[in-house]
Amino acid sequence: MKQIKYFFYILIFLISSSAVFAQNNTISPYSKLGLGDFETMGFGWNTALGGSGIALRTSITLNNLNPAAISALDSTSVIFEVGVHGDYTHLKTMNQSGGKKNANLSYMALGLGITSKWGMSFGLVPYSNVGYTFETLSPISGTIGNYRTKYEGSGGLSKFFFTNAYNVTKDISLGVNFSFLFGPKNDIEYYGLPNTNYYEITQQLSTKYRGFVFDFGYQQTLHLNNNNKLTFGLTINAPGKLQYKSTLFVSQRYSESGSIDTLKYDPGLYRSTVYPVNYGGGLAYNYNTVLTLSADYSLQNWSELVISDDFSDMSNNQTLAVGVEFIPKRLSHRSPITYRSGLNYQSGSFVIDGQHIDRLAFTAGLGFKLRTMRINVYGAYSTRGTTNNQLIQEDLFRVGLNVSFYETWLQRRRYR
């Protein structure tokens, strides 16, 4: 019976995973740049802690920021975790402002405690999101005056991951993660003239990405005394390989009414680039089971990712994430409620017109147990960009919920 149940989960998992990535997960104009808007805050638990988790270990929920963390799962335990979120994004330029809502499944993952030393996890998460609509006015070469370009984008990369971690000693864990990245990024540009009765030009660039990355993780715990524990963690990935194929379709249409004529169609060929080496380090402090503090620093060397001429050059991003988790004591017959909060700062992967597009986020959340489910809810506010230099500032309010279904396998369920 249990096997059937797992089959059921895997089925749901696969069906839903297509839904996870079918929608535009963002409305940010910044998602036009690079590979799109990266999902960097980790799973729901990590997000509530400001996106920190390189040095965190827990047996009750999944942490995808360090492959070594998964060995913390209890032997024979199974955690199926699914997250959803709703966003309200407020966009502001010098002259315009407004908001948009959207909501989506965040991720799905399964964690397995194979033995007391060996943990395994796999799942599907959005890696980057693309979804934007905006306009620019650019000078026409050869005269005074501007032409209008409307940009529309969709797509995003997904990541299938498979993680294994092993406790080499009681306090040292090593993990390795294989990720397969895949997905399209569709960028459409419409060029319009300041007069009437002309051919509007549409340029559609559809880039398909596929690639793989190996990540390695290390975690070591130091038991200071009975109540105080310090853990540090490291992550690094081997240089991966990213393949991409850009299909270019340029067409024209007269006065928005005529038929569409193809000017150029280039199906493109797969080309290859190196996925850069990124590093991360984290430190966590636990006081008994009551308090956890964590801090991470990581560096993403995006400037080494070179795709093509049209591709916006990226710059290296530094992330600083701190989080705190507090579990106050409650009456013995009640399950405790966990309170979490965090802060996340990213220096930004893009420099536009000399302006770093950095991002600051505050997060807060709580977790509780409901029967065999562990429920985490969180809220996050992040602000990015600026209205200076004709850029756009975006304020994102996110509310998220993730549910961990906790079960054991190979064991008969006991009556509680």
Binding site: K5, I12, A19, Q23, N24, I27, P29, K32, V82, V84, G86, T93, N95, Q96, G98, G99, K100, K101, N102, A103, N104, L105, T133, F134, E135, T136, L137, S138, P139, I140, S141, G142, G145, T149, K150, Y151, Y191, L193, N197, Y198, Y199, E200, I201, Q252, Y254, G258, K264, D310, S312, D313, I352, D353, R371, M373, N389, Q390, L391, I392, F405, E407
Partner: protein
């Protein structure tokens, strides 16, 4: 315990939440956002040569307008217009016996409101009898501007009248009683000459309406057959035969009306002698350099101008991956040659072949809409008055076939304006600054 239903709800809720977006505003942000180079380019320095052409004769019938007048034009030569109309009787003839008395015969005219010249000056026209059948000189042709017909040396009558802006003024011109009595008697006698339509048209071949006033520039337009104007049906041109029945207090009339629109036409004479167009011949072209760097458009003779883009093939070499998005021809009328910018006439664009014969109308690239001028009229300062034409279709066609085709573009008044006005426009060529420009926008992809 697993709560399947909870999981189900979660899926449902999450799907429900998906993509409920509200604000559809498109945000405008600076072009620095994307690093791409400008993809749209503009050129307006392409050489365009222009020459004035007098086309072959053109149809002036079918417009249902009796156009008459005289136009003095020092620059382009004086024009003269007279109109011819063939008549038939309207409906069946009345039953008249010897107790009915003839009263009079009158030509009834209705002004269309289109006119030129001063309103407060009295103009005079003469009504002549046509002595030949009004029919095209060549088989399968239509009556055209150069056609004219033998008329009586002495007019039947003269009519002096005034014109008012936009008025549908009625005019009555009494014709000789001898003519009226003759027709009256034939009706009484049921003479086959008048009973049969064909016989009548052979007997009475029509009227010619000619201008007498020739010391000012003026024109008048009268309606031909019934027409809607100001949402009313306007009475057509009529020869009214008035008579009175015994013991009746009022006259009755029987009307003779134009036989058909194609038998109402205008004959033009333009005397180019001594004008800048002296020596212009049909279908030859005079380069603008020989006419003070000007081009001309003139009604009545179908004078217009042709443009050529000699280096059009070079456009293909602007860039290997380019496409023309928009092509406009900008032409400025010569300042001081028109009274009011906003009253400049609309110009039409035609394909013209190497023999300077019109082949067809120029359309937009969809082939659906004929290209006419868009006038930018600067009445106030008169600094920025110009005609603009969408010539994208022409440019694309020529870029494909420049070396094989001698076709080009011809600009003139509309066919109707050519046939029923004295409109004229003087335009400047490329030797004037910003007067004649081909403006192209192209994209490089």
């Amino acid at each position: 315990m697993f709560k399947e239903s909870f999981f189900g709800k979660l899926i449902v809720i999450s799907l429900f939440l998906v993509s409920c977006s509200d604000d559809d505003a498109v945000y405008k942000i600076g072009d620095k956002f994307t690093t791409v180079q400008s993809k749209i380019h503009f050129v307006d320095t392409i050489t365009v040569s222009a020459s004035t052409v007098l086309l072959d004769s053109f149809p002036t019938s079918g417009y249902n307008k009796i156009f008459v007048g005289y136009n003095m034009d020092e620059q382009l030569g004086n024009s003269y217009a007279e109109s011819y109309v063939e008549f038939t009787h309207k409906g069946s003839l009345p039953e008249l016996d010897s107790t009915v008395t003839f009263d009079s015969i009158v030509l009834y005219l209705r002004q269309s409101g289109a006119y030129s010249g001063d309103t407060n000056i009295i103009k005079t026209i003469a009504i002549h009898r046509v002595l030949e059948e009004i029919t095209p000189r060549e088989l399968n042709n239509t009556l055209n501007n150069s056609d004219n017909f033998l008329t009586s040396a002495e007019p039947y009558a003269e009519l002096s009248f005034e014109q008012w802006p936009r008025s549908l003024e009625e005019n009555f011109c009494r014709l000789p009683d001898s003519l009226g009595l003759n027709w009256f008697q034939m009706i009484v006698d049921k003479d086959s000459i008048i009973v049969s339509d064909d016989n009548f048209k052979e007997y009475f071949q029509g009227l010619a309406i000619k201008p007498i006033t020739k010391d000012i520039s003026w024109s008048a337009t009268f309606y031909g057959v019934d027409e809607l104007a100001d949402n009313k049906i306007v009475d057509e041109l009529q020869i009214r035969l008035y008579f009175r029945r015994k013991n009746e207090m009022e006259n009755e009339f029987f009307a003779f009306v134009p036989s058909e629109k194609s038998k109402i036409f205008t004959h033009y004479k333009i005397d180019h002698t001594g004008s800048i167009l002296d020596g212009i011949e049909n279908t030859t072209q005079i380069l603008s350099g020989n006419t003070n760097n000007l081009m001309f458009v003139q009604a009545g003779g179908r004078v217009g101008f042709r443009i050529d883009v000699p280096l059009i093939n070079n456009l293909n070499e602007l860039h290997p991956n380019m496409s023309i998005m928009s092509a406009r021809l900008i032409i400025k009328p010569s300042k001081g040659t028109y009274e009011k910018a906003s009253k400049l006439p609309t110009l039409h664009a035609y394909w013209i072949d190497s023999n300077n014969e019109i082949t067809e109308l120029l359309t937009d690239v969809t082939g659906q809409f004929a290209i006419t001028s868009e006038l930018n009229a600067d009445d106030f300062y008169d600094e920025n008055t110009y005609y603009s034409f969408n010539v994208l279709n022409y440019i694309l066609y020529k870029m494909d076939r420049a070396i094989y085709s001698n076709e080009s573009l011809f600009f003139s008044l509309s066919a109707q304006d050519n046939a029923t006005t004295f409109n004229r426009v003087v335009l400047e060529d490329q030797s004037f600054s910003k007067s004649l420009e081909l403006q192209l926008y192209y994209v490089v992809y």
